[in-house]
Amino acid sequence: MPDLGLEVLWKGKNFVRLLGGLWVALRISLIAAGISVVLGILLGVAASRKRSVSSVVLRVWLGIIHIMPQMVLLFLMYFGTTRLFSWNLSGEVAAVIVFSLWGTAEMGDLVRGAVSSIPAIQRESAEALGLKPAQVYRWIILPQAVRRLIPQSINLITRMIKTTSLVTLIGVVEILKVAQQIIEANRKASPNAAFGVYLAIFVMYYLACRPLSLAAKKLEKHWR
């Protein structure tokens, strides 16, 4: 059996360092996901009204986000705006902003789609009962829309977690950066470390994303 380079993981604090890197990645994506869900719902509900200003804003915003590679957005935010407006952004904050811009647009579009897919007569029958517009959204439209949203929004969040691997390029020390450091440092002692370390990362990403999709399945079943 070839040397898989796994022993590197147990050297010193390597494993804990990797976990720390994973936590950085998760922290960025989960904070951004939280922001995206809240803002996305607000934007999506507003944009679900046909011919509204918000629907145009969402369309344009989404268009830009879809065209731009996330990496370009990260560079633009981290290197571009800091220069232009001479403000100070840590890599992590820049990443959270970019991921939130991305997530809010996609989440907004998902919410818009889900809200529009609720038949108009559901809203009408709620209005006919005397519910005010905000109450109709709170108790009738959103609960039904959220049920339809779950699969795609979990998909969005897992894509966010995966995409955090890019933030190493703006100097954030997340799991991939830690991995490179470990591999570099052990180049002589364990030449196969790359395999072991990246295998460990694979498992860690899997374990981080798996509970999300399990939770989504469970919710879907519960609400069926």
């Binding site: 209005e127 005397g130 109450q135």
Partner: protein, 253 residues
């Protein structure tokens, strides 16, 4: 003569350039059951939807005990609480249980105590034969059961007037009866109602007054016996004949 609960005067409703209802006036008195009939597309359902301000209107006005029903008024939700509406396709909320469907509006809009409404809801469900379904989901019910729940959901608001929009049109024939029985029962209790239906024998049995809607207006208005035995206008005769013909056709098919 009893007081008018609902008065519609000179109502005009257009969709784009198509006029659906024109200069239509109608009063419904306390405890009265008005049945509206007419061929498909004559605007019966639109009329009911206008009463509830689910459609905007292009002329005239609709008043519930003197209060103007209008999109421009802040009190529209409160007025709608007093107008119970039952739709053709039930429109129960699929994410709520039967009981929650019924409790939602009184608890959220009338701020009544959950405990009290719950007791009333269970009593009403018992009256329509569905007490054991209180914790079921709408998808577990038959069409007739869903429609009875929808009626209870309207009744629990203690509306001044009930609107029934072809409530049996989507039902399998064997379930029509169970729903109509409930409505006849409500008529016996003296509830004020406007009913749009294609069930002629039901119309005859339940109505205090029959209205034939044709050509954007009220063409004929009379008590059920007169309407069915001695219709005044040629169009009314024709309408009733069409119905007979359809029935024969159905029987042969």
């Amino acid at each position: 003569m009893a007081e008018a609960v609902l008065s519609i005067s000179h109502l005009t409703k257009r969709f784009d350039d198509q006029t659906i209802l024109e200069d239509l006036s109608l009063e419904v008195r306390e405890g009265e059951v008005v049945v509206i009939v007419g061929s498909s597309g004559c605007g019966k359902s639109t009329l009911l939807r206008c009463i509830n301000a689910l459609e905007d209107i292009q002329g005239g006005e609709i008043r519930l005990r003197g209060d103007l029903i209008s999109h421009n008024r802040k009190n529209l939700p409160e007025l709608r609480q007093k107008i119970g509406m039952v739709f053709q396709n039930y429109e129960l909320f699929p994410h709520l249980t039967v009981l929650e469907n019924i409790l939602l509006a009184p608890v959220k809009t009338q701020k009544r105590s959950r405990q009290n409404v719950r007791e009333e809801a269970l009593a009403l469900l018992e009256r329509v034969g569905l007490k054991e379904k209180a914790d079921s989901w709408p998808r577990q019910l038959s069409g007739g059961q869903k429609q009875r729940v929808a009626i209870v959901r309207a009744l629990i608001m203690h509306p001044e007037i009930l609107l029934f929009d072809e409530v049996t049109a989507a039902l399998d024939p064997e379930m029509v009866r169970e729903v109509l029985d409930v409505i006849v029962n409500l008529a016996d209790q003296g509830k004020t109602m406007i009913i749009v239906t294609h069930e002629m024998s039901f119309a005859r049995a339940v109505a205090d007054r029959i209205i034939l809607l044709e050509d954007r207006r009220i063409l004929e208005e009379s008590d059920p016996e007169t309407f069915f035995t001695a219709p005044k206008t040629e169009q009314a005769k024709k309408f009733l004949r069409t119905f007979e013909f359809n029935r024969k056709n159905k029987a042969e098919a």
